[in-house]
């Protein structure tokens, strides 16, 4: 019996002790009328056969060369990361409720929190949320709690924010009456225009979201935006790519220094770039950091360092009174299970890379994207869409519809980027491309060659 250790003798003896005739007796409290019939499920498969089926399916899906980013980024993942993350003691443990028997996980989370604070320039971090998009939704809800001066529940979302994040914020926070308003971007530069914010000056707005780099890969003028928000008593929620923070100003430093400190108030984002494989979109993890003053408004678990009865340092879950298992309907969030294992991977990743390594990853990605854009925009019918400085993504404009081009590239084993036509029809035939440090010259060359070819064929056919 798959994974069932009971022998016939065990079963007999256990039933005897229970005083039941059969295992089925144990279900005698379920009304007979409700008892299920035979399940229509496939029969059991051995590990060998199943492994073969899955290997065939996986291989059928292939391994194209990938130039899509758009919120999930292909980076090199050091071999130690998953070799250690999948150790049974991490993989098969649960939330460290029994602190003394979970110091491994707890210390690791404390280290993770420290690293996220260092990266974002903030004071406190939680132990993870589900993913970047839902982390933003939680950040919006948190902003409502944290911004005592605001009653409006209005959140400003730039259109240069990842459109899926906007959808998720709606789906999750919309039910609590949050109102999301769109802020347009500068069509030439590809970043949020301060002008677009000015109509909100002096109004009751709860928070302004700033994504850096934004969905187009462009760099926002974060100082300007932050200062404007703070002048208007609006909290700033930063959505950032953690790898980019090795080279970009930490959100904790955005804007002018004021008495209340400076920088963003809540920082969140997608942790995937930190050692988590693309894997069809998950599991990833959302991160969130903030200032100490808002810690009690933060959702998610938090680990603190304390001492034991003998004064030795140790770690435990803390500030649990914010959480659903204590505060129930008044909790800061309903989150319970989070993305612990991914945090484990990310912590090992950050430890291996360190500041210098992350800086190299960021700079190499930036460089590769610059190379890619240079090569691709040299192709007839292709040009770069925006003028703002970039991190590691860029929007290209084609002189013809994007989907057939992407299909033709896919035939050649190249994932050429993300078609933006549906998301941003106003941009025309727009394509979002990304190259990280994983792309070698040969990859960029073959993309450029394939694109030139595909565009020419398309032109000839038209």
């Amino acid at each position: 019996m798959a994974f069932i250790p009971h022998t016939a003798d065990d079963i007999d003896r256990m039933l005897e002790r229970i005083g039941a005739q059969s295992i089925d007796d144990l279900f005698d409290e379920i009304p007979a009328a409700l008892r299920a019939g035979a399940l229509k499920l496939p029969p059991a498969m051995g590990e060998m056969e199943l492994g073969r089926l899955l290997t065939e399916r996986a291989q059928g899906d292939g391994r194209p060369v990938n130039f899509i980013g758009a919120g999930a980024y292909e980076h090199h993942i050091p071999a130690p990361v998953w070799a250690i993350t999948t150790r049974g003691e991490f993989y098969s443990a649960y939330t460290p409720y029994q602190a003394e028997a979970s110091q491994g996980t707890l210390q690791l989370i404390y280290e993770y929190q420290s690293m996220m604070c260092a990266l974002t320039g903030m004071e406190v971090s939680n132990a993870s949320l589900y993913d970047g998009a839902s982390a933003l939704a939680e950040a919006c809800l948190m902003a409502v709690r944290a911004n005592r001066g605001s009653n409006s529940r209005r959140i400003l979302l730039p259109r240069s924010l990842n459109p899926t994040y906007r959808q998720v914020a709606h789906a999750i926070a919309g039910n609590q009456g949050l109102v999301f308003e769109s802020v347009d971007f500068d069509r030439a530069a590809g970043r949020t225009a301060l002008q677009a914010l000015l109509p909100y000056s002096g109004q009751d707005v709860t928070a302004l979201v700033i994504q850096q780099p934004n969905f187009f890969g462009c760099l926002e003028e974060v100082d300007e935006l932050t200062d404007w928000a703070h002048q208007n008593k609006i909290l700033v929620i930063a959505v950032v790519n953690p790898i980019s923070l090795a080279v970009l100003k930490a959100p904790g430093q955005w804007g002018a220094r004021t008495e209340a400190g400076h920088g963003a108030d809540i920082v969140c984002g997608e942790g995937q770039p930190l050692g988590v494989p693309l894997a069809s979109g998950g599991p990833y993890f959302g991160f969130m950091t903030t200032r100490m003053q808002y810690v009690r408004q933060m959702p998610g678990r938090i680990v603190g360092r304390t001492v034991d009865t003998e004064g030795r340092p140790g770690f435990s879950l803390t500030l649990q009174a914010r959480e659903q298992h204590i505060r129930r309907s008044k909790a800061t969030s309903n989150i319970c299970t989070n993305q612990g294992l991914l945090v484990t991977a990310a912590t090992i990743y950050m430890s291996l890379l360190g500041a210098a390594g992350l800086q190299r990853v960021a700079a190499a990605s930036l460089q590769r994207t610059a190379d890619l854009v240079a090569r691709l925009s040299a192709v007839a019918g292709v040009k770069a869409a925006f003028t703002a400085a970039r991190f590691h993504e860029a929007v290209l404009l084609l002189d013809r519809p994007v989907p057939p081009v992407l299909n033709a590239l896919a035939q050649r084993g190249i994932l050429g980027g993300l078609d933006l036509t549906d998301r941003y029809p106003e941009l025309g035939h727009a394509l979002l491309v990304c190259a990280t440090e994983t792309k070698l010259d040969v990859d960029i060359d073959s993309y450029a060659a394939a694109l030139a070819d595909v565009m020419q064929v398309a032109r000839a056919a038209a």
Binding site: L39, H170, V307, A364
Partner: protein, 489 residues
């Protein structure tokens, strides 16, 4: 002698300025001159600076400071800590699966797995449709309640904003209702652990959006009067939400759809044995009856002839929308799929059977040893509650003391102090993958601890004795917040 590794320094303390694991660095080190100065980072983040060996050794040693299923019996009630088959991880981590970008062309091999998983979960729950996108139980609950709201709103039944929740409910239930903008009405349970029908009748009304139920409940018993509960709520115009955290107890024995539930979330990381990962990830797939089909969160895997494709807002315009950046915890879902295929038809039913056998056996043995079951007249489901209230009165020991002492005996503690309504409780869930011998060893430890209560209660109060740390000062943790290491100035 302790079972666990002694103290390990913080990774930051192992580092030194200039130390680098360069093998992991990209080969080129271009500048970042393109970044305007005012957007550039001035001071590098204070991350560890360690060698690869230091990192490997540190995290390997940290791992050894954990109890886990792979090393210990872990009867944490309501969490279903059963064996996580290694194959689930190996196959889910096939390099091609790991390389799939979520926005690339629809990967037919991967999507075939997801489609079949949807179908299997539908069959097992007796529902009409399934979405795999919620990323944990609580998000599944959110999806469920949001669908209930969307349903009422679509019918223009705007006043239905109350969610009824039995007292014993998991904290995520009321918290979820609140996140969905609903108010929560708690109703009591009767002495047998069933919902108090009179209280339920009194609670329902035109404001009732629905009820959230766990069945078997977190009290470890099957809700006898489920048909009646369903009728009352449905007649009042509300819908029934099934918290599937305890699905392990009833797999193949009774289906939530057949019990009258309109929507269910499943904790794939519990019943379908994907890893718990020290706190996650999970997956909270939701299933719905016909009425809620239009509202399922997207994306879902659909099939056009032989081709699988993602169903999105275009296909489900009334969907409650997207709950994650892509498609939820895809890799967790893949592990659940693998698990279900390994077990198959017969194996799925056996899960419930042997979970129940283990729980009932353990309950009986502990009762025989003098422990008080909270619901002695009831069958245990896959878990059961022991209350230590008389031990607390007689010897002054608490459930916490017993929990900590169990660690010394080499067992992870059961869930303590949940559900809140049973005093000094231990919620014990052995799961079907543990052998009788291990249950027996656990009983022997409990018996030994019982003896210690009587003869050396101070030993319990001071437990644990053999862990890397003694009992931790949680009050200090919350008062003198130390939440992040900071470099010495």
């Amino acid at each position: 002698m302790t079972e666990l590794q002694a103290r390990e320094p913080l990774i930051f303390e192992l580092g030194k300025p200039g130390r680098q694991a360069v093998t992991q660095f990209p080969p080129h080190a271009p500048g970042t001159a393109e970044i305007p100065a005012h957007l550039r980072r001035a001071v590098p983040p204070a991350l560890p600076e360690v060698s690869e060996l230091q990192a490997v050794r540190h995290f390997t040693r940290l791992s050894q400071m954990n109890f886990s299923i792979d090393t210990h019996f872990y009867p944490l009630g309501s969490c279903t800590m059963k064996y996580n088959p290694k194959a689930c991880n190996s196959f889910a981590m096939l390099p091609e699966f790991l390389a799939l970008h979520p926005l690339g062309p629809e990967p037919q091999g991967f999507m075939a797995c997801m489609y079949e998983l949807q179908e299997m979960l539908q069959e097992i729950t007796g529902m009409q449709g399934v979405s795999l996108t919620p990323m944990a139980g609580a998000q599944g609950e959110f999806a469920g309640v949001a669908m209930i709201r969307a349903y009422h709103q679509a019918r223009n039944d705007m006043g239905r904003t109350e969610i009824i929740v039995p007292q014993a409910a998991h904290g995520t239930n009321p918290a979820t209702a609140a996140m969905c903008g609903c108010s929560v009405k708690e109703i009591p349970c009767d002495a047998n652990g069933d919902v108090d029908i009179a209280a339920l009748r009194a609670a329902v009304g035109p404001a009732t959006a629905g009820i959230m139920l766990t069945n078997p409940s977190t009290l470890g018993v099957f809700e006898h009067k489920i048909a009646e509960v369903a009728r009352i709520v449905h007649e009042a115009g509300g819908l029934l939400y099934y918290d599937g955290a305890n699905l392990n107890a009833i797999l193949g024995k009774v289906r939530p759809g057949d019990m009258g539930f309109d929507v269910i979330h499943m904790n794939l990381h519990k019943t379908f044995s994907t890893p718990h990962g020290g706190g996650g990830p999970g997956s909270g797939a939701v299933g719905v009856g016909a009425r809620l089909l239009p509202y399922l969160p997207i994306p879902i895997v659909g099939r056009d002839g032989a081709r699988y494709r993602w169903l999105t807002e275009r296909d489900l315009p009334q969907s409650i929308g997207r709950l994650s950046g892509f498609m939820g915890n895809a890799g967790v879902n893949l592990r659940a799929y693998i698990y279900m295929r390994l077990l198959g038809r017969e194996g799925m039913v056996r899960v419930a059977e042997f979970a129940a056998l283990n729980a009932n056996y353990l309950m009986k043995r502990l009762q025989a040893a003098g422990f008080e079951a909270a619901y002695p007249k009831r069958r245990a489901s896959h878990e059961f509650i022991v209350t230590l209230k008389s031990e607390n009165r007689l010897y002054g020991v608490t459930a916490m003391d017993v929990a900590k002492r169990l660690l010394d005996y080499g067992f992870h503690a059961p869930t303590t102090y949940f559900p809140l309504l049973v005093p000094e409780c231990l919620l014990i869930e052995p799961t079907e993958t543990e052998a009788k011998e291990d249950l027996d060893r656990f009983c022997e430890a409990m018996i030994a601890i019982r003896r210690e209560m009587q003869h050396e209660p101070e030993k319990l109060a001071a437990a644990p004795h053999t862990m890397p740390v003694r009992r931790l000062n949680d009050v200090r943790a919350a008062k003198q917040l130390d939440l992040a290491w900071k470099p010495a100035a």
